[in-house]
């Protein structure tokens, strides 16, 4: 097959309203290598939530950006993220998924470390020369770590801008995702760890795609909602509620719609009204309105999604061009009543996750795209131009995906400055 240069992966003709992505971008192992180097190694990646390590001495292990890491809360309760590899000879220091300990010991040669990373014990240490610097042989922290309101992000780029600058205009909406319950939030026990045999960028698109909902998820809207006594008209009727797609800059993007009836708004109306009243008290009516009266799918570049309908946090990472691992959690208010917690979980599970009434159909859809890409020599382009001429594209349009792709396109070409991720139809409208 002829070689496609990275600069040719996207056709972005803002004047005429054409936006195409070459399907090689979803299937080429070289592109994945470039993505690892230019995107995942140079951005902020979500790692964990502080509620998962909420007592001094607790730890968990997982993979972030392809590296095994240990997230700890040290004896003083301060969070850390370390590379899970012994500075001595490389073995994974911590093999457990989570736990609580005073020290972590690498079993290979029994070097031990406290939860602030300090090297505690080296058997037969007298064999080392004075050139051996014990204080440099502690657990190696990730190059950068920042905690934004309980959400721990890491970066493997020591020179990256600080997290708040990186979040930019997405930060306000991330705040709404945290503030919705009027109090602190926590990750609920029970993680959803699954996968798709599909390129990771298909899940970026899918996670903020209003257009697919009615066809892909018709069983949820047309079967499940009526089965539990709900009228699905606000979702599927002729006058269904529409939202907007938003470019938040930096590759971040969002779809936002006015709140619609869900199993939760029906079953927990009184509790949600009480929370809304608390939000008004705490934040004033305008901000409370913005927090409580909209639903949002918020995408933080390159691989974090928060969806307010179910309060899920989802992140994913490609192992191969055609395979990604996905981790998803529920981020709920800490002090919800038992009944409200249960209703939130029921609402979450009715739609989301490998056993929900919607996610499995996304898995099949995205895996189907990936299998379809085997035709890419004859059918090389995907079209992502919906709503390109509109001043305010709707949530059924694809501006939010173009915003992601424009940033992606700049980074894989090594362009590290700011990217103009907007459609800029105003320029064309002004010229007409």
């Amino acid at each position: 097959m002829e070689k496609v240069e990275p600069r040719d992966f996207i056709v972005d003709d803002r004047e005429n309203g054409t936006f195409r992505v070459n399907r090689r971008a979803f299937a080429d192992p070289e592109i994945l290598e470039t993505e690892r180097r230019e995107i995942f190694d140079r951005t902020w990646l979500y790692a964990a939530h502080v509620s998962e390590i909420n007592t001094p001495g607790s730890f968990l292990t997982r993979k972030v950006g392809g590296r095994p890491v240990i997230v700890t809360s040290d004896a003083l309760g301060k969070p850390h993220v370390f590379l899970n590899s012994c500075p001595h000879r490389g073995n994974l220091v911590c093999l457990e998924k989570s736990g609580s300990a005073r020290a972590l010991t690498c079993f290979y040669h029994a070097w031990s470390f406290d939860l602030s990373g300090k090297l505690l014990g080296v058997p037969d240490a007298e064999a080392y020369t004075p050139a051996f610097k014990r204080e440099e042989m502690g657990l190696r922290p990730v190059p950068r770590m920042e905690n934004y309101r309980g959400m721990i992000f890491v970066s493997y780029d020591p020179d990256i801008v600080n997290l708040e600058s990186y979040l930019g205009d997405a930060r306000e909406y991330l705040d709404y995702m945290i503030d919705f319950g009027g109090e602190e939030v926590e990750i609920v026990q029970g993680a959803q760890a699954y996968s798709m045999k599909a390129n990771w960028k298909l899940l970026v698109e899918n996670s903020m795609d209003g257009y697919h909902a009615l066809s892909t998820h018709q069983r949820y809207f047309r079967q499940y909602l009526p089965d539990i006594g709900m009228d699905p008209a606000a979702w599927v009727g002729a006058n269904r509620t529409m939202g907007r797609g938003v470019n938040l800059g930096g590759g971040h993007a969002m779809v936002e719609s006015p709140q619609r009836p869900t199993p939760l708004t029906g079953s927990a109306k009184a509790e949600l009204d009480a929370i809304r009243a608390r939000l008004v008290e705490k934040h004033g009516p305008d901000r409370a309105h913005r927090i409580a009266d909209y639903t949002r799918n918020l995408f933080i570049f390159p691989n974090l999604i928060l969806i307010s309908l179910w309060h899920t946090v989802r992140t994913f990472y490609p192992l191969r061009p055609d395979y990604m691992e996905i981790d998803a959690w529920a981020l709920f208010p800490k002090n919800d009543s038992q009944q409200l917690r249960q209703k939130r979980m029921d609402n979450f599970l009715s739609f989301l996750g490998p056993g929900g009434f919607a996610t499995p159909d996304d898995v099949s859809g995205l895996e189907g795209c990936q299998r379809g890409f085997a035709t890419m020599r004859e059918l090389p382009w995907s079209d992502i131009s919906r709503g390109m001429g509109r001043e305010e594209p709707s949530s059924q349009d694809e501006l939010q995906m173009r915003a992601f792709w424009r940033r992606w396109n700049a980074l894989i070409q090594g362009k590290r400055g700011p990217t103009d991720c907007a459609d800029r139809p105003e320029r064309r409208l002004a010229a007409e």
Binding site: Q189, A191, A193, Y323, M345, P354, F357, P360, E367
Partner: protein, 176 residues
């Protein structure tokens, strides 16, 4: 000594049980056959009105569905909807339907009470779809009761997977 008194001093009853191991085994293999044959309405009739179908998250196999997020936590109404959806024409994850083959073994009675019996069994459910082969391995922990006609029914049907993650399975779209 009256029968009632005997029951009180011997809670692990060796008489008058809700079900024998033989009955439990027969119930489980018949259930598996209904699921493999996609006779889902007949299968749903095995679930009591207050029945629940549970699959815990893989990192929290021992947890309580009221406190932890599960993969599946269906009450009877949601389970009825799940069956309807699976038999309908818009469940793309099961279109075309998976072929499944269930091996259910090592059935044991764990506990007998007055009106229920707690049983366990091991399972391996092989699933074939889109040229992929996935195996779902775990154990069942069920609470069985007697229905109005004396037949065994599920009050709680719990499938606890031994898998560490659903990778590369990706989805749990058929009834496990």
């Amino acid at each position: 000594m009256a029968t009632q008194d005997l029951a009180r001093v011997a809670p692990a009853r060796s008489f008058d049980p809700v079900a024998t191991r033989g009955e439990v085994e027969e119930f489980l293999v018949n259930e598996a056959a209904l699921l493999d044959e996609w006779k889902l309405e007949e299968w749903l009739a095995l679930v009591a009105e207050d029945g629940r179908y549970l699959v815990p998250s893989l990192d929290s196999p021992e947890s309580d569905h009221r406190a932890a997020l599960f993969l599946i936590s269906d009450d009877r109404r949601n389970l009825g909807s799940r069956v309807k959806q699976l038999l309908g024409r818009a469940t793309w994850a099961e279109f075309p339907r998976s072929r499944t083959r269930r091996l259910v073994t090592n059935a044991r009675i764990l506990e007998q009470a007055d009106d229920w019996v707690k049983v366990t069994a091991n399972f391996a459910v092989w699933r074939f779809q889109h040229d992929a082969t996935d195996c779902y391995v775990g154990r069942y922990i069920h609470l069985l009761v007697r229905g109005p006609g004396g037949e065994l029914m599920f009050r709680e049907r719990r499938a606890v997977l031994d898998l560490e993650t659903l990778r590369p399975h990706g989805k749990l779209s058929f009834i496990l």
